[in-house]
């Protein structure tokens, strides 16, 4: 990887810094100020858009650790979000605990369930593992829907208590916007730090060649399970934040289709980079909004097509986007961004 010209690292500490130059730091400060000032300029619609995208990004960071860094395919990620959401909500409802405690506990609950469903990864890999995670998706949603309807609300929605600090109640889009973006920033920092550490490099080794990784002294079972634990922890946090945000959760929010969408976002954004989830989630969410906006126009122009034009357009563009990205840019938008950055640094020369 090429570095910014004229910047030379003279110590390991310098080599490890995330923000290498003053420009990076200045850019970061501007970005933070921008996010802080944003609610003054945009409507609630856009704040809601950013909040829901940010929740998706939290979940995607977890999926990225699991699938992008450790190579363990999980097609049941939203089910782990559901575990987080339901764990925190039920704890808050039944035991009356503060939601601030329930949210991390929800994350831990999802992580433990993820550990359970990660156990097959010790025996099978590849397709078989992907299928067992699909089974996890169905089994978890079944457990929510059927056996204990009086606790989990069954197939019907479950309402979530209000989030409050002292007498301050989170009840407008702006409050949730700040909360969720802050949590997203925190979780992103956590994921970045994890993947830069020994842990992250061990995961990459397991992904690239598990036998070689074992020969190098990495306990692959431990790291696979840890990847499941941490990936599902992120999903659980995302789920409990989502529950607090929308105030009503139902099993239909966490279907297999949503899991497939998350996988697609990760593919489009780029696997195995911290920026990938951002690109993927924003790209797909924007695509979805565009389809929802042009849907009514299509209906009025071609009235013979019929109902659900927006929904079908969303699905079709998503399918086409996945196929095109996989065929023409399997490493996602993140890779393109890296190329762009490098060519900017080298400009006006090509190499």
């Amino acid at each position: 990887m090429r570095r910014v010209s004229g910047v030379f690292d003279t110590s390991y500490l310098q080599d490890m810094t995330i923000f290498r130059t003053k420009h990076y730091i200045a850019g970061m400060v501007i970005l933070i100020l921008l996010f802080l000032a944003l609610p003054a300029f945009v409507s609630d619609f856009w704040l809601a858009f950013i909040s829901s995208t940010a929740v998706t990004i939290i979940a995607l960071q977890g999926l990225n650790i699991l699938a992008g860094y450790c190579g363990q395919i999980s097609i049941g990620h939203t089910a782990f979000m559901a575990v987080g959401a339901y764990t925190s909500t039920i704890l808050a409802r039944e035991l009356g605990l503060s939601l601030w405690i329930c949210m991390p506990v929800g994350g831990l609950g999802a992580a433990l369930v993820g550990l359970l469903f990660g156990l097959p990864s010790l025996r099978v890999k590849g397709y078989y593992l992907a299928i067992t995670t699909i089974a996890a998706q169905f089994l978890i949603i079944y457990m929510i829907k059927t056996p204990f309807p009086e606790v989990t609300g069954g197939a019907i929605a479950l309402s979530v208590p209000e989030l409050r600090v002292g007498s301050f109640v989170f009840n407008s889009e702006i409050h949730f916007y700040y909360l969720i973006v802050a949590i997203m920033a925190l979780m992103t920092f956590l994921s970045k730090s994890l993947t830069r550490s020994y842990f992250g490099r061990a995961l990459v080794a397991v992904r690239d060649n598990d036998i070689a990784a074992e020969a190098m002294g990495i306990n692959i079972f431990k790291y696979k399970l840890m990847a499941f634990f941490i990936g599902c922890f992120f999903a659980g946090i995302a789920g409990s934040v989502w529950a607090v945000y929308v105030r009503v959760i139902s099993p239909d929010d966490f279907t297999l289709v949503n899991s497939i969408w998350q996988m697609g976002m990760l593919i489009i954004g780029g696997l195995g980079s911290t920026l990938g989830p951002f690109f993927g989630a924003v790209f797909i969410s924007a695509l979805r909004e565009i389809c929802v906006i042009i849907g009514p126009w299509v209906t009025s122009t071609f009235p013979q097509i019929g109902a659900q034009v927006s929904a079908s357009l969303v699905e079709m563009t998503f399918g086409v986007a996945i196929v095109l990205f996989l065929v023409y840019e399997p490493r996602g938008i993140g890779h393109r961004w890296e190329i762009l950055k490098e060519s900017y640094r080298l400009w006006p020369f090509s190499y």
């Binding site: 019929g306 079908s312 699905e315 196929v323």
Partner: protein, 290 residues
């Protein structure tokens, strides 16, 4: 006891259809090592397509043959565009590409047919109840049972005796070796997609005849994947047996336990089989470090 036999027979007939769809799935896996997660969408799309053609003023047999030719051609073309670049790609990419195809098909079907709710095929035979050994059975159930059985036998003969079928099996075994024997591997893969699409459409038609045509048919694809895994991914016989096991288990849990469990029991069985016998009942045991 009579309910027991009724449930058994209807489970077996549903199971044959699952097995049939699972055969299409196994076929694609064998020929190209790709897991086709779009199988359910293909089933649903085929069922709708048959419905569209049956509404035209042409004899039903001709309409069905036309549809089968169309989906066959579509399967053939699918190999050319998104799938050929996927040969040799990591598993993650091949999983997502079939899911992308599936999502696209679902979107297209929503666009075209979401207005039509609760549609049925025009009935070809009048439904009546027949007593066999004192067990009352619907003649539609028996018809589907016989038809599924015939289809499975035809497919078995095709893969064991016809030249094309043997070529496809050879390509499945080893791409390079097959190529050096003068078999066009890409063509064999395309043929397997075409046959899978045809088989999925037949399965969709039969299921649609039994339970109506709707978007719920998509879930059948995942159940068929579970059936294929229970039977072992490399075996056609296994796919059919897995389909039967899962079909019967589903109708029994539906009849004796409840609807909620009926939906997950295929996956429950699959997980148990994967834990105790990771390569399925008839699958090829691979020795592999995990």
């Amino acid at each position: 006891m009579i309910t027991f036999f009724q449930l058994l027979i209807s489970g077996l007939s549903v199971g044959f259809i699952y097995g049939l769809i699972a055969v299409g799935f196994v076929l694609i896996f064998k020929s190209s090592q790709i897991f086709n997660f779009a199988q359910g969408e293909m089933v649903m799309f085929g069922a709708f397509l048959v419905w569209v053609f049956l509404n035209y003023d042409i004899p039903p047999v001709v309409a069905i043959i036309l549809v089968l030719m169309i989906v066959g051609a579509a399967g053939y073309l699918l190999e050319r565009f998104p799938l050929r670049p996927m040969i040799g790609q990591p598993i993650f990419a091949t999983i997502m590409i079939t899911m992308g195809i599936g999502v696209f098909l679902k979107g297209l079907a929503l666009l075209l047919w979401s207005r039509h709710i609760g549609i049925q095929y025009p009935s070809v035979i009048t439904e009546k109840t027949i007593n066999i050994l004192g067990v009352p059975l619907s003649n539609v159930t028996i018809g589907v049972f016989v038809f599924g059985l015939v289809m499975v036998i035809i497919l078995g003969l095709f893969f064991n005796y016809s030249r094309t079928g043997l070529h496809m099996r050879a390509a499945a075994e080893n791409h390079q070796l097959a190529q050096s024997m003068g078999i066009k591997v890409t063509r064999a893969i395309a043929q397997s997609w075409a046959i899978a699409a045809i088989v999925a459409t037949i399965g969709g038609f039969l299921l649609g005849y039994m339970r109506g045509i709707d978007f719920g048919l998509i879930e059948i694809g995942l159940i068929a994947i579970a059936a294929a895994l229970v039977g072992g991914l490399e075996s056609f016989k296994g796919a059919v047996v897995g389909g039967l096991i899962i079909g019967v288990a589903q109708t029994f849990t539906g009849g004796y336990v409840g609807y909620g469990l009926k939906e997950v029991v295929p996956f429950l069985i699959m997980v148990l089989v994967l834990i105790f016998k990771p390569y399925g009942l008839f699958g090829l045991v691979k020795i592999e470090r995990v």
